[in-house]
């Protein structure tokens, strides 16, 4: 399905987004839905996110897990992309000793790159492995100052250049932030716009008219490890 009620879903989501941005922030609730039927396991979202957020080696905000189901010849596959779930009841924020990571009033779970002391407690505490430690690796070794690796990713709308290990986000915890730097400029998240399966949906679930709200109100929706009580804001459609 590329269309919903005869309208292109990208356009619907775009309109939903602009509408949400007109509301005061605390009335918004960003959420994502990923249609597992449409997800074809192309991993475009993974590298799209890497290039959007200039993440260093071994830090992937949105990996895609590949799970085999059943036994040959009755085999099935599930591709499960995993951004940060921006849990409504996150296990990562309560443990942060300095409240560097917290849930904003729009539900977004953010990391204050200037406060984080790099204790990594939140990384240990997230049950989904959604957080990473940026210990300061570069892909391009000695050549890094000549490449994009020390330029500003614009994450959280800030100005962070990974120039040395004294410069955040090196030394910090990092994770998917729902591309808030794009979203608040009126652009959908990068994983949504690059998804080859058109399987990733984004929007404000406080808006009853939003596409995402309609999608997640169906019975064919689940959240990952829901039993943990974390109440993820990422819904999987089956």
């Amino acid at each position: 399905m590329d269309q919903f009620d005869g309208k292109d879903i990208m356009e619907i989501m775009q309109e939903d987004l602009l509408r949400a941005l007109k509301k005061p922030r605390k009335e918004r609730r960003w959420a994502m839905a990923i249609d597992l039927k449409k997800c074809i396991g192309c991993h475009a979202c993974t590298t799209g996110c890497m290039s959007e957020n200039l993440t260093p080696p071994e830090i992937h905000y949105r990996p895609v897990k590949e799970e085999e189901i059943g036994e040959y010849p009755n085999t099935g596959m599930r591709f499960l992309p995993r951004p940060c779930f921006h849990c409504d009841s996150p296990t990562c924020t309560p443990v942060c000793p300095v409240t560097a990571t917290y849930k904003r009033d729009d539900g977004l779970v953010v990391i204050d790159y200037k406060k984080c002391i790099g204790c990594r407690y939140c990384i240990v505490a997230c049950p989904y492995g959604a957080r990473s430690a940026d210990s300061g690796h570069y892909f391009t070794g000695d050549f890094h100052d000549k490449t994009y690796e020390v330029e500003n990713s614009g994450e959280y709308g800030g100005n962070f250049k990974r120039k040395s290990h004294w410069h955040s986000p090196i030394g910090n915890a990092r994770k998917c932030h729902f591309c808030i730097h794009r979203v608040e400029k009126g652009e959908l998240t990068r994983c949504t716009t690059t998804c080859l399966g058109n399987a990733t949906f984004f929007g404000d679930i406080n808006d009853p008219k939003a596409l995402i709200t309609k999608l997640i109100s169906k019975p064919n929706v689940f959240r990952y490890k829901e039993e943990l009580g974390t109440k993820p804001m990422v819904y999987y459609i089956t």
């Binding site: 399905m1 590329d2 292109d8 356009e11 775009q14 602009l18 449409k38 074809i40 396991g41 192309c42 991993h43 475009a44 590298t47 799209g48 890497m50 290039s51 071994e58 059943g70 036994e71 040959y72 010849p73 085999t75 099935g76 596959m77 591709f79 904003r104 977004l108 953010v110 790159y113 200037k114 892909f139 391009t140 070794g141 000695d142 050549f143 000549k146 994009y148 690796e149 330029e151 500003n152 614009g154 959280y156 709308g157 800030g158 100005n159 962070f160 808030i180 730097h181 794009r182 608040e184 400029k185 009126g186 652009e187 959908l188 716009t193 690059t194 080859l196 399966g197 058109n198 399987a199």
Partner: protein, 732 residues
């Protein structure tokens, strides 16, 4: 959906055109205390197109401080529609790879055991020009061959043509699409294109043989097929392995490898005998129906079950489903098709299935594409008069394009005429061609071997001179025209940043070399930009618009058969040739016939291979963004079988083929439920053995190491790459 509409929308969506974002008024309150100092400047946005594979999707580079900092898909591109695949998003890993070729190099040692001397461009091109002159004097200019893959090759073709040689071949013919294209040309009189003319997004029923879309990440095609099946198209995927797309299918038919033709013939017979074919369509557009019918009588479902291991029940059901949904059915022609040596005939069978179901020119089947013409650079001198001494591909009557196969043979044997110089542009021949020993033998016979590449790949070690091309992010290339449904795309590649080190674009290299060869008149352009600007002018295209948007779209005609848009078939009969007189005349089967291929001897597995979603052959094996996710390949083995052999996930093994050739290196085992137990599977491209490739060198095993002397498709010269059997050697 109206594609025009969605593209415009996309513009906003991906932020490609910031002007379109009208939310400034609603910009939210700053959300973090420190965000005020926000350093997010609007970066310069330069559109160009991707070359990490040959789909050539439009991308937009975001540039700051003369560095590409980010990229995005170009919403206007028909190949990507604003999206980039897993590889395409890793452009910066190609551009900023510290291992790139940095300056011209001359080999002062032997081919295969190189000793490199750094050279200036002048020196390197001087050496080449001198050698070219002497080769040309001794053997004629036609003894110089270009073997190429990629957009920049057109400048090299032009150079060699200007110098008198027309000998050029891409492995993407005889090692890839050739059999499919020829099979369709023989049947419909035209091929299925690239990007293919599959109308997946409108299909009601899709059948695929191999074609592992999702892993084969051809951008818009993947989008289309997902759109198709998620809008309700039923899907049957025939593959010994549960490919990504097979896992989305209603039916997965884990066929015994090398028996697809049996299944197709059974389906043809069923569709005919059960009257499921489009009678009107066949009567109107096809010829040879009766001969076809007579020829397939022996291929009963029961017989096919014995050959393919697919139950006859399922075979019958799928045939009926195809009939039920016809003509909105697409039986995919595949793309990579040099499998078992009878591949043109297999592709013919696919073509025939489509013809019977009436899918050619029908919604959900194959659409008629819209093309565009961009005239050559105006006012170039005529190429020198060219009399070819002898056809290299004489043995393969339907090799409509030059094959690498014959060039290699002629290089070794000097027959039917000598080939003494190779220019290898953007093709890692050591891995791309089957039978490595022969390739090396051919290269050792050369008087001149030049490689134009971006990376110190395996192939450079066999070269006399290595010329570092700058990457696709740093150069102008030739204009790229793509044919699509109802639209054509004219795409521009332009530099987004200055070339790093001393690397240069092909338009520059060929111009300089041309000057040295006395061909200055063939290179009148000042630079790449002027070259394209002039071509645009000749085509009445707005160059400024092209630079700004990256692509220009031309509207075209009707994609489907209607009363006033009738198909034309470029076959001798002007009809769809179910029975091929052409083939019969050359002594081939006019209707595909099944012959059984050898099966693996005891203790052996058939070696299958395919694509990794995050890599393109060997070209991305050193891309740091991609190696960060997948640095090597693994050997897929049916889990039960693997356990019987005492293998565990992650064990390292080596492989030896039917000829006793042991693959270089080792590979880790992946036990899987996704594969039959008579074959093993791996991703092609790994097992690079080139010291300069710090991330790729020695990672995984190369399927190409294990491909011995291949069977050759007698119709068009394609090399059968999947006829190899391997044994697992534990404890590597």
């Amino acid at each position: 959906m109206s594609p025009k509409f969605s593209r415009r929308t996309f513009l906003k969506v991906s932020g490609a055109a910031t002007a379109a974002v009208t939310v400034a008024a609603s910009m939210p309150e700053k959300f973090l205390s420190w965000a005020e100092e926000s350093g997010q400047k609007e970066m310069k946005q330069i559109p160009t197109f991707c070359e990490l594979c040959f789909w050539n999707c439009g991308l937009i580079a975001k540039v700051e401080n003369n560095k590409v900092v980010k990229i995005d898909g170009n919403p206007k591109s028909l190949r990507g529609r604003g999206r980039l695949c897993g590889r395409g998003n890793a452009a910066l890993g190609a551009l900023y790879d510290p291992d790139r070729l940095k300056y011209p190099m001359i080999n002062t040692g032997k081919r295969g055991e190189p000793v490199w001397k750094r050279a200036t461009w002048d020196e390197a091109l001087g050496v080449i020009a001198q050698k070219m002159k002497s080769v040309s004097e001794k053997y004629g200019p036609d003894s110089m061959a270009l073997i190429y893959h990629g957009t920049g090759a057109s400048f090299w073709k032009h150079l060699l043509h200007a110098y008198g040689s027309t000998l050029s071949a891409a492995p993407s013919f005889a090692q890839c699409r050739g059999p499919r294209d020829i099979g369709f040309v023989l049947t419909f009189g035209s091929d299925v294109g690239s990007p293919e003319y599959y109308d997946f997004s409108k299909s009601k029923y899709i059948v695929l043989f191999g074609s592992h879309l999702g892993e084969n990440a051809h951008n818009s095609q993947v989008q289309d097929i997902v759109k198709g099946y998620s809008s309700g198209a039923k899907m049957t995927v025939v593959d010994p392995r549960l490919s990504n797309i097979a896992s989305k299918a209603d039916r997965w038919l884990p066929i015994k490898p090398a028996t697809d033709l049996a299944l197709m013939l059974a389906w043809i017979r069923l569709i005919i005998e059960e009257g499921l074919y489009d009678k009107e369509y066949v009567a109107k557009y096809a010829t040879g129906f009766d001969e076809l019918r007579a020829a397939v009588q022996q291929y009963t479902p029961e017989w096919a079950e014995a050959e393919t291991s697919i139950s006859s029940d399922v075979i019958v059901k799928v045939a009926r489903e195809m009939g039920e949904y016809a003509p909105n059915v697409c039986v995919g022609a595949g793309r990579y098709s040099t499998w078992y040596g009878d591949d043109t005939q297999r592709s013919r069978a696919i073509a025939i299935l489509n013809a019977l179901l009436g899918t050619w020119g029908r919604e959900g089947g194959y659409f008629f594409p819209t093309g565009a013409k961009v005239p050559e650079y105006p006012g170039l001198p005529a190429y020198p008069e060219h009399v070819e001494a002898a056809q290299l591909d004489e043995a393969y009557p339907f090799a409509l394009l030059q094959t690498t196969t014959s060039i290699k043979q002629a290089t070794i044997t000097g027959q039917p005429r000598p080939v003494k110089a190779w220019f290898v542009y953007g093709s890692n021949l050591m891995k791309t061609m089957p039978d490595k020993q022969e390739t090396i033998k051919a290269i050792q016979n050369l008087d001149l071997m030049v490689t134009i590449d971006t990376m110190p790949m395996d192939i450079i070690n066999y070269s006399d001179v290595v010329l570092p091309e700058c990457t696709y992010m740093e150069r102008y290339d030739n204009i790229n025209v793509g044919k699509f449904k109802g639209e054509a795309e004219i795409a521009l590649r332009q530099p987004t940043v200055e070339p790093l080190w001393e690397s240069k674009p092909s338009w520059w290299i060929t111009k300089e070399l041309g000057n040295k060869l006395g061909l200055a008149a063939f290179f009148p352009w000042k630079d790449g930009e002027e070259y394209i600007a002039k071509r645009c002018e000749a085509a009445e295209l707005d160059f400024a618009q092209l630079k700004r948007d990256g692509v220009i779209i031309k509207k075209g005609g009707n994609p489907y058969i209607t009363a006033d848009s009738q198909p034309e078939f470029g076959t001798p009969s002007g009809k769809i040739e179910l029975y091929s007189q052409q083939l019969a005349e050359k002594g081939f089967d006019p209707v595909p016939k099944y012959t059984r291929h050898p099966t693996p001897p005891a203790g052996h597995f058939r070696l299958l291979f395919g694509r990794a979603p995050l890599h393109t052959f060997s070209r991305t094996t050193n891309n740091f963004m991609l190696t960060d996710l997948q640095k090597d390949n693994s050997l897929w083995i049916n889990a039960k079988k693997g356990k019987e052999l005492g293998l565990k996930n992650g064990d390292y093994v080596s492989l030896v083929n039917q000829n006793g050739v042991i693959a270089n290196g080792r590979i880790k085992v992946k036990l899987t439920q996704r594969l039959r137990d008579d074959a093993v599977y791996m991703n092609h491209g790994f097992g690079v053995h080139a010291k300069g490739m710090s991330r790729a060198n020695g990672q995984g095993i190369a399927d190409d190491d294990l491909i011995g002397k291949p069977a050759i498709d007698p119709i068009m010269g394609g090399t059968a790459m999947r006829g190899n059997f391997v044994k697992i050697v534990k404890g590597a």
